[in-house]
């Protein structure tokens, strides 16, 4: 059974994620100390909530440098929703907040969208490879067994904007605006959607992440 550690910083939907991981055959544990984070073999940063509150919670638990050290270790790291956002360098929710900086880029609010499209984007949206990506672009990533256009559940007002286009693993269009829905930079993957809440395709995403460990 694959062991995977989930960072417990008081701002995540841990229950849902744990049960989804168990369902796909993993053994999830919660970690909340710097030592435990750095000692993990596979790490997930979950997240529900606001960027500044999330960073503050990590700081209060002394986890900022632990996550940064872990990210540099080359071991697998998955950020989900706010977790994916916190891994970026800069957040712009309620003003500017410095992020973990493991993935260069910023987290910004949705720009003006087509009429009728509201924010937050609380929807099942299709996830596609970036234009001109090779058909094998998703191989070896948690999206390896995903059909382009599969729908995942999103709940967010802010989006990740990686500095390097090469980091964009998948994109999604909402209200006429294409944004990065999954990024990958080396050992780090971040998904803006919630795989633990996306039914069968979401469970497959988590299972593939685990299978790749």
């Amino acid at each position: 059974m694959k062991t995977v550690a989930i960072v417990d910083y008081g701002a995540g939907n841990l229950f849902s994620l744990m049960k989804a991981l168990r369902y796909v055959g993993a053994s999830p544990t919660l970690v909340e100390t710097p030592e435990a984070v750095e000692g993990s073999e596979a790490l997930i940063i979950p997240g529900v909530g606001a960027f500044p509150a999330g960073m503050k919670a990590l700081q209060e638990r002394g986890l900022v440098s632990a996550v940064q050290t872990y990210a540099q270790s080359g071991k697998p790291l998955l950020g989900i929703c706010l977790g994916a956002q916190l891994l970026m360098s800069d957040g712009y929710e309620f003003g500017h907040t410095q992020g973990l900086g493991c993935v260069p880029g910023r987290v910004i609010k949705f720009p003006d969208l087509a009429p009728g499209y509201r924010v937050p984007n609380i929807n099942w949206n299709p996830v596609e490879p970036p234009e001109q990506a090779s058909p094998k672009y998703w191989q070896g990533t948690p999206l390896a067994h995903t059909l382009p256009g599969s729908q995942y559940y999103f709940v967010h007002s802010f989006i990740c904007e990686p500095e390097d286009d090469q980091d964009i693993l998948a994109q999604t269009t909402y209200g006429g605006f294409p944004f990065c829905s999954v990024y990958r930079r080396g050992n780090i993957v971040g998904s803006q959607f919630h795989p633990e809440k996306s039914g069968e395709v979401g469970l497959q995403f988590l299972k593939t992440f685990l299978d790749n460990l």
Partner: protein, 252 residues
Amino acid sequence: MKPIRLISRIDLKGKNAVKGIQLEGIRVVGDPCQMAQRYYHDGADELFLLDVVASLYERDLDLELIKHIAQQVFIPITVGGRIRSIEQIREVLRSGADKVALNTGAIANPSVLAHAVEAFGAQCIVLSIEAKRKTDGQWEAYTESGRQKTGLDAVAWAKRGIQLGVGELLITSIDAEGMRAGFDLELMNAITAFSPVPVIAHGGAASPASIQQVIVKTGVDAVSAASMFHYMQYTPREVKAVLHKAGIAVRV
């Protein structure tokens, strides 16, 4: 066309799933755990669980039941019922809810909405408004599952909620609820006319056609239904197949 969600709503009383008419005269319709399972497998995009008597009896939500329901369901779950503090929201989220819906608690203390948004993000705070038509054609917000008048204008209260930062509005028409005779389109239009955040329509779902109508005529972002799924007239997937055919973007 923007995507539309179809939400299965289950009202809870104790360990039972119940259903009323105009939020009153409730009767038991089944085991909420089994029903949640069924709706998950039958294509619901989300579940909404509401303890309809928690506020009335001043009894807290049954978190063990929520945990149990959430156990085998891998779609979003919104939970409501006498939620009134940050600490409580944290507990409900930790029990498997993805979003919380506040009605009575928010009217009693509107600032809890702003605090909750700051702590957990707008996207998981839903303002639930139960609106009843007045003789002048406007709507009044009610609390305690449609039992208690508040004197608040429902539309003004929705605007206030948005100012306080909520991420979603759940609009229940008390007049239409449980009647299976279609939605209060005017009420939904009065809300979608200004709301920058997603609007969920509840109350009156009678058929796929009535759901199609509220989507097309009012611009709501999601539709919630209870009876038509409880009594197995339709599954969520069947409803979405009809919507899909009509050109509405749904997850099929």
